[in-house]
C-alpha cells in the first residue's frame, strides 16, 4: 500500500517534470545558447547590481554567506554595464541577460507562481531574500527611483540606468519609502 502511494507520487512527479519541460543542457551549452551579443548600434540601458546594505549589516547575514565570494568587499556584484535594450524588454529581461552574460547566479519565481503576478527575484549571487535579516531582499531602481511595479512589468527606455540593490530593511536603507506600506504582503 505504502509502495503504491509512493509509486503514484512518483508518477505525479514525473508528469509534473514532463509538463514543466525536460530540456537538459550542460553548463557549457547553457551559457553558449544564452550568450547575448552586445552590439553598439541599438538602444541600451545600464545595469548594475550592488549589495552595500549587506556590508552595513554584516552581523545579520547568514553565516554561510559571510565570505567575499558571496559579498564582494566593495558591495559591487555587477559594475554598471551597458546592455542592448530590445523592443519590449522589461527590467527583468535585462537582468536575466546581464546575469547570464556575466555568469552571476540568480534565482527567481515566475510570474505565475507568486501573488504579485510578476517575476519575483529571490536571490542574486547566492544572496537570497531574508539572507540578511527578516526585512532583506532585492529591489531595483530606475534612474534613482524605485518603480512601484514588478520587474517583469517595467519596461525601461533607452539610456535608463537600472540598479539592483539589496536591502536589509525593507528598502529604507536604500531610500525606498513605499515598500513599508506593503509590508506584510
Amino acid at each position: 500500500m505504502k509502495k503504491d502511494i509512493l509509486a503514484i507520487f512518483a508518477i505525479v512527479l514525473i508528469i509534473a517534470v514532463i509538463i514543466n519541460g525536460t530540456e537538459i543542457q550542460s553548463v557549457e551549452e547553457y551559457y553558449l545558447t544564452h550568450i547575448d551579443d552586445i552590439t553598439p548600434e541599438s538602444e541600451t540601458v545600464t545595469i548594475s547590481i550592488r549589495c552595500d546594505a549587506v556590508l552595513d549589516n554584516y552581523d545579520d547575514l547568514d553565516e554561510n554567506l559571510r565570505s567575499e565570494e558571496f559579498v564582494p568587499p566593495d558591495g559591487e556584484i555587477l559594475p554598471p554595464t551597458e546592455y542592448v535594450l530590445r523592443d519590449g524588454d522589461s527590467v527583468f529581461d535585462i537582468l536575466d541577460r546581464a546575469v547570464r552574460h556575466d555568469r552571476i547566479q540568480m534565482e527567481y519565481q515566475g510570474a505565475d507562481k507568486n501573488k504579485f503576478g510578476s517575476v519575483y527575484i529571490q536571490g542574486i549571487n547566492y544572496l537570497y531574500e531574508f539572507s540578511c535579516g527578516p526585512l532583506s531582499g532585492w529591489l531595483y531602481k530606475v534612474n534613482g527611483q524605485f518603480p512601484n511595479y514588478g520587474c517583469s512589468e517595467y519596461e525601461p527606455k533607452d539610456g535608463d540606468v537600472i540598479e539592483w540593490v539589496y536591502t536589509c530593511d525593507l528598502g529604507k536603507d536604500a531610500g525606498c519609502g513605499w515598500l513599508q506600506g506593503r509590508q506584510g504582503e
Partner: protein
C-alpha cells in the same frame, strides 16, 4: 525488540521524541547518518524479513526525495547541468541526499515508534495527559472493528437475499447507502447499550482514576536520564555551534574537533541506545542459557 518493549511508555516516548527532534532539526550530515543507521539497526533487530520487503519502499523513496530537492532548489555554486534554464547544482543534490537520509531516518524511527508504542502504550501516555480522551480513543478502537464486522454481516445478509448485488452500479451504490444508513442506526442502538453498560459499572461517578498496567521502574528511570543527558549534550553542542554545517551556497568543510566529536559520539550513543539494550539483553540470555 523484546527488551525495549518492556521499557515504560513514557520513557520510550521521551527517547523517541528526543531522537526524532534531533534528527529533524539538525541537518549536519553525521547526525543524519547516525540517525538513519540507528533507526535501521533498531529495525533490523526487530525483524529481518520485514525490513527486506520494506526496502522496496524505502529505497525508491530515498531516491525520490534526493531527486526532488535539486528540481526545486537552484541555489549552490556548482551547477552540474541546467534543466529548463534552471541550474541543477551539486549542493542541491547533496542536500537532497541529506534530506533523503533525514526523511528515511525519521520514517524508520516512526516505524519503530509505532512498533514499540502499541495503542495501549499510547493510550497510557495520553491517559496521563488527558484521561477523558484516552477512554474515548480506547472506545473508538473497540468500536471500529466491531462496526466493520457488522457491516460485513449486513452486506452478506443483503446479498444472501439477492439485494444490491446486481451488476448495475446504481444498485450497488444504493445498497451501500442503505447498508450505511442501517449501520448508523445500528451504531446508535449499540452505543445506547454500551452507555448502559458503562453506567451500570459506575461510569460518571466523580474521581475516576486511570489504570495502567505499566510500571516506571528504576531501569526506566536510568534510561530516561541517559536519554535526556545525551539530548542535552547534543543540543548544547549544537547551540554552541560545534556542529554547524551549511549546504548553500557552498558546502562548508566538515570541521572535526573535540567539541564536534563529543556531540557526534553523544548522538551516536543516543541513536544506538535501543540497539545496545537489545544486544545486551540477548547476550545476557545466552549467558543465562549457557549456565543451565
Amino acid at each position: 525488540m523484546k527488551a525495549f518493549d518492556e521499557i515504560d511508555p513514557v520513557a520510550a516516548a521521551v527517547y523517541f521524541v528526543s531522537v526524532m527532534l534531533v534528527g529533524m532539526f539538525i541537518s549536519a550530515p553525521m547526525i543524519q547518518l547516525f540517525s538513519l543507521l540507528g533507526a535501521a539497526a533498531f529495525c533490523l533487530i526487530g525483524g529481518r524479513g520485514e525490513i527486506k520487503s520494506d526496502l522496496g519502499f524505502y529505497i525508491p523513496m530515498f531516491i525520490m526525495i534526493a531527486l526532488i530537492n535539486p528540481l526545486f532548489s537552484h541555489n549552490g555554486v556548482t551547477p552540474l547541468f541546467f534543466l529548463n534554464g534552471n541550474p541543477v547544482t551539486l549542493e542541491a543534490v547533496i542536500y537532497g541526499i541529506v534530506l533523503a537520509v533525514m526523511m528515511t531516518g525519521i520514517l524508520l524511527w516512526c516505524r519503530n515508534f509505532t512498533k514499540v508504542m502499541t495503542s495501549d502504550k499510547l493510550l497510557y501516555i495520553m491517559g496521563r495527559a488527558v484521561p477523558a480522551l484516552s477512554l474515548t480513543v480506547s472506545m473508538a478502537l473497540r468500536f471500529v472493528p466491531m462496526f466493520k464486522r457488522q457491516m460485513k454481516k449486513v452486506s452478506a445478509a443483503q446479498k444472501g437475499m439477492g439485494l444490491y448485488s446486481s451488476k448495475s452500479y446504481t444498485d450497488r451504490i444504493r445498497g451501500a447507502l442503505r447498508v450505511f444508513a442501517a449501520m448508523v442506526s445500528w451504531s446508535l442502538e449499540n452505543a445506547m447499550e454500551t452507555s448502559c453498560a458503562m453506567k451500570a459499572r459506575g461510569y460518571g461517578l466523580k474521581g475516576r482514576t486511570n489504570f495502567a498496567i505499566f510500571r516506571f521502574t528504576l531501569r526506566d528511570c536510568i534510561f530516561t536520564v541517559t536519554t535526556l543527558l545525551l539530548l542535552a549534550a547534543v543540543i548544547g553542542g549544537y547551540a554552541l555551534g560545534y556542529i554547524d554545517f551549511y549546504y548553500y551556497p557552498r558546502i562548508s568543510a566538515a570541521d572535526i574537533n573535540a567539541g564536534s566529536a563529543a556531540v557526534y559520539v553523544s548522538f551516536a550513543v543516543m541513536a544506538f541506545l535501543p540497539f545496545m539494550i537489545e544486544v545486551k539483553e540477548a547476550l545476557k540470555w545466552k549467558y543465562f542459557v549457557s549456565k543451565i
